[in-house]
């Protein structure tokens, strides 16, 4: 039986033309154990997980990393490899090509860091790398700041998705500049926007979704929680709640009280 209160388009959305049910993208790093990671992925309901690449010296057989990939593959989630650690467009392009060969996906979360202290993305290298990678046939998911003009340059480069930060990676501060994120949403209405990085609490994810973002991507807030599996579920509820709230149409905030009970004045004229 269909729930009459369920919006007809809630079940799926399109990310780079791929239908997904969840608007929650989850990172896979820093969990207490592979088993907890596996359970957190399941509890999150995510359809997309991020992975990285690491330089290897000598072969180690299948080992721990082989087990990790088995868990990821078994989850059924799509892979979104990243270019974490890159400091230049050239490095990021090389790593993206490696990821595509290793993991069999043309999706790439493009990270090019420009500042070691804040891990702030370098907008110039980001645009250069995105331009090349789009030419090379990649679907580029750039991890970027909330600066409108650099976001527009990424779109000019051929990106269809933007992933502005809420706050610095792993900081858990939430949305430091809601105005900038709201402005991005308003100025780029047809673009898939995903808040990536800096979220610490489920309420932060709900806030991002209430701003009209299409999805959120996070890692540390779940992986480093006291109970990552329960936190994954909490974020899943928050993302869905925030999205439903936005879809339902939020009321405009008012400076002053507006009476809600239609009593028509005071109940007694004493």
């Amino acid at each position: 039986m269909t729930d009459s209160h369920t919006p007809p388009d809630e079940a799926t959305w399109l990310l780079a033309d791929v239908p997904l049910r969840s608007r929650f993208l989850l990172g896979t790093a820093g969990y207490p154990s592979p088993q907890v990671l596996q359970q957190a992925i399941a509890a999150s309901g995510t359809g997309v997980v991020t992975v990285g690449l690491k330089r290897e010296l000598a072969g180690d057989g299948s080992g721990a990393q082989g087990a990790f990939m088995d868990i990821i593959r078994a989850s059924g989630a799509r892979l979104l490899p990243n270019t974490a650690g890159c400091r230049s467009a050239r490095e990021a392009v090389t790593l993206a090509h490696m990821a595509r060969e290793l993991l069999g996906t043309h999706w790439i979360k493009l990270e090019v860091v420009g500042d070691e202290h804040t891990l702030q993305p370098d907008p110039f290298e980001l645009v250069a790398a995105a331009t090349q990678l789009v030419r090379d046939g990649f679907e580029v998911f750039p991890y970027c700041t909330d600066d409108l003009v650099s976001c527009q340059r990424l779109l000019d480069a051929g990106c269809r998705i933007l992933m502005p930060w809420g706050a610095p990676i792993g900081s858990g501060q939430g949305l430091l500049n809601p105005w900038a994120l709201r402005t991005l949403r308003a100025r780029l209405p047809g673009v898939t926007l995903i808040v990536d990085a800096g979220l610490g609490a489920p309420s932060h994810a709900a806030q991002a979704m209430e701003l009209g973002f299409d999805a959120v991507l996070l890692n540390s807030a779940v992986a480093q929680a006291g109970d990552p599996v329960r936190m994954a579920a909490a974020f899943a509820h928050a993302v869905r709640g925030g999205w439903l709230g936005h879809a339902a149409g939020l009321i405009a905030a008012q400076d002053m009280a507006v009476a809600s009970t239609p009593v028509g004045g005071r109940p007694f004229d004493l």
Partner: protein
Amino acid sequence: MTEPATAAVTPITVQVGGQPHALPAGCSLAALVEQLGHAPDSVATAVNGAFVARAQRAHHALADGDQVQCFKPITGG
């Protein structure tokens, strides 16, 4: 003019993840990957910062001083 026969056996040294690695001259990237103990499809490779596709490794002869990197998937955010 023909190269001296000894040139073909002069060893070279490449850097693998920053570590020196002695190889016979003319060694291919595919041979190095095997020597390192990696299954061919378990790693992606780059030489001097440029991606070398799996299909090209057998044809990619390494030169003295080359910087070789092999990458594997890991957890990531």
